[in-house]
Symmetry: C2
Subunit: 335 residues, 2 copies
């Protein structure tokens, strides 16, 4: 009999839920927009509603599910299953999310809370680009670092086949490694964070700054009239149409990501670095300058045979990985 897992990925704008099998294959999934929830109760009801709908579509009762994983942003206490704080959700402090979910959906092994970027990293590791990749000697990958490029930059670290959480579940804040100690201030309080240069939002910001300071661009009028409509995707599209400033902006993002990845290689020498998020739609315009920096700046041994690739699972990686993390954590603790 096949075993099923449920993964829940709570974001600032959506909750994505999916039912997967024991290999991470998606059986069914459901996404629900959060709208503008005003209370903790409203957020919880969205989570519950999306999960109920997913179970219904999969034709499963909670009792038939082996394990449930829930991935969330914010400061977590994973051992206690508590979201200590999340800036983007209302009244979201000290929420005992693991136990609330387990009470509402009493799966057989239990429920596990996981950081959202760690979950995405595990999803790609377990069921995405990591699963498909073989080392030169035919072995599976066992170490992987993920960068999620969005409003900010998140990170997930898999070492020796396990998610590395750190002392206080605060590891892999890869958006906040410093690339210029006297550089751009970051909302986190640090200065010169990778995120302040290379996130999707920072890419837009750098482009708007350039236009404001007089750099020429083919779509200057649109930019000046509706700066709020400038997205990293649009910048990439204009670059493809031949706009030099747009291309330069995306390529610079690739350069900054390369600088961050050089530190990642020197720090952990992982087998794989995976990039995900809408910005990766820029493809080779992002990857080529990135790889150039890695070639030029990383120590030979630290970049030898390392695979630096785009993710395969898109936004599904979060719920797939949440489900997988739950299975791994609960099977490990049971053995």
């Amino acid at each position: 009999m096949a075993e099923y897992l449920v993964g829940i990925d709570l974001g600032g704008t959506n909750v994505n839920v999916g039912c997967v099998d024991e290999t991470g294959k998606v059986i069914t999934k459901h996404s629900l927009a959060l709208g503008k929830p005003k209370t903790r109760k409203e957020v919880l009801e969205s989570i519950y509603g999306a999960t109920e709908e997913t179970l219904k579509r999969a034709g499963l009762k909670a009792e038939q599910v082996r394990a449930v994983g829930i991935a969330t942003p914010g400061t977590l206490d994973i051992a206690r299953g508590v979201v200590v704080f999340a800036a983007n959700l209302p009244e979201w402090e000290d929420v005992p999310l693991r136990d609330l979910i387990q009470k509402k959906f009493p799966s057989r092994l239990g429920t596990v809370l996981e950081n959202d970027a760690n979950a995405a990293a595990w999803g790609e590791y377990w069921a995405g680009v990591g699963k498909e990749t073989r080392l030169a000697d035919g072995r599976h990958v066992s170490s992987l670092v993920m960068l999620t490029l969005g409003t900010g930059i998140g990170g997930g670290v898999v070492l020796d086949g396990k998610v590395w959480h750190g002392f206080k579940d605060a590891a892999a804040e890869l958006g906040h490694i410093t690339i210029d100690f006297r550089g751009r201030p970051c909302p986190c309080g640090n200065i010169g964070c990778l995120e302040a240069y290379a996130s999707a939002d920072s890419t837009v910001r750098r482009f708007l700054e350039a236009v404001k300071s007089g750099a020429a661009t083919n779509w200057e009028r649109a930019v000046r009239e509706h700066p709020e409509e400038v997205t990293s995707r649009r910048i990439h599209e204009e670059a493809l149409k031949g706009d030099v400033l747009s291309r330069k902006t995306i390529e610079e993002t690739g350069f900054y990501l390369g600088v961050g990845i050089v530190s990642i290689l020197h720090f952990l020498n992982p087998q794989m670095v995976v990039l995900t998020g809408g910005l990766t739609g820029a493809g080779s315009m992002l990857m080529d300058p990135l790889m150039r920096v890695v070639q030029e700046r990383a120590l030979g041994r630290s970049r030898e045979d390392v695979k630096i690739v785009f993710a395969r699972l898109g936004v599904d990686a979060g719920f797939i990985g949440a489900a997988g993390c739950a299975l791994t954590a609960l099977e490990t603790s049971a053995s």
Copy 2:
């Protein structure tokens, strides 16, 4: 019956060998200056000689030793026990050091090759400041990051009670994480490496640059007449005597180290960060500005309860840790 281990720490100028018990306690030790060896054979003879002398002082035959660990700089292939390359030693390419040592000193479990900074990290973890430290709940430390501050900056990473080597044994090159992507060039080929700012040598270089560009200092004449005699230790001494530029230089080194440590905390969120090397003799003049940066720049959760301390074992950490790494690796592979 007590069990004994031997650790060998091969540096660019010395080979330090020690015999330790199963808890890492030093029974006897011996240091030999390498002089200016011209051939691979001369280096090997120094290693053999220092090890023979140590065994003699300990009253042991090689067959009575449980395991031997050898720590070296350079590019290693740990699984094969081979030093692929080391810049500071003559003819030191593809040296099958593990097997050479095991043949010369046939210890019972065998010989293990380890990176020098990893060995020092393991020494402090196993038998030094890590051993003495307890977490708030009384547990031992299980994750530790070490920075060795010397000519360059080396790094060692212990996670979940194990040295993290990385894909190609090239992890923990913490001197080469970038702190300013457009900053000082580093001999490694990267730009703005931590090492280019905060090693002992870089501290001296920054001081000499400041004097050359006209900054006032109480010992200007000595500096101008004998710049080759300026050391980080001397700069610290002059700072203690009241020289403002000397103090500023040491404090800046502390600032740069703090920037690097912020990235370390954000990356791995370890329980402990340990600093070693002669530069740590500067004590609070180094530590105070370092801690200030960590307070100001690191995410609250990533620095919560983290211990940032100086090492306790000095140069002995290398051979102690080499011995301990050998024991751990061989007992793990035997079980």
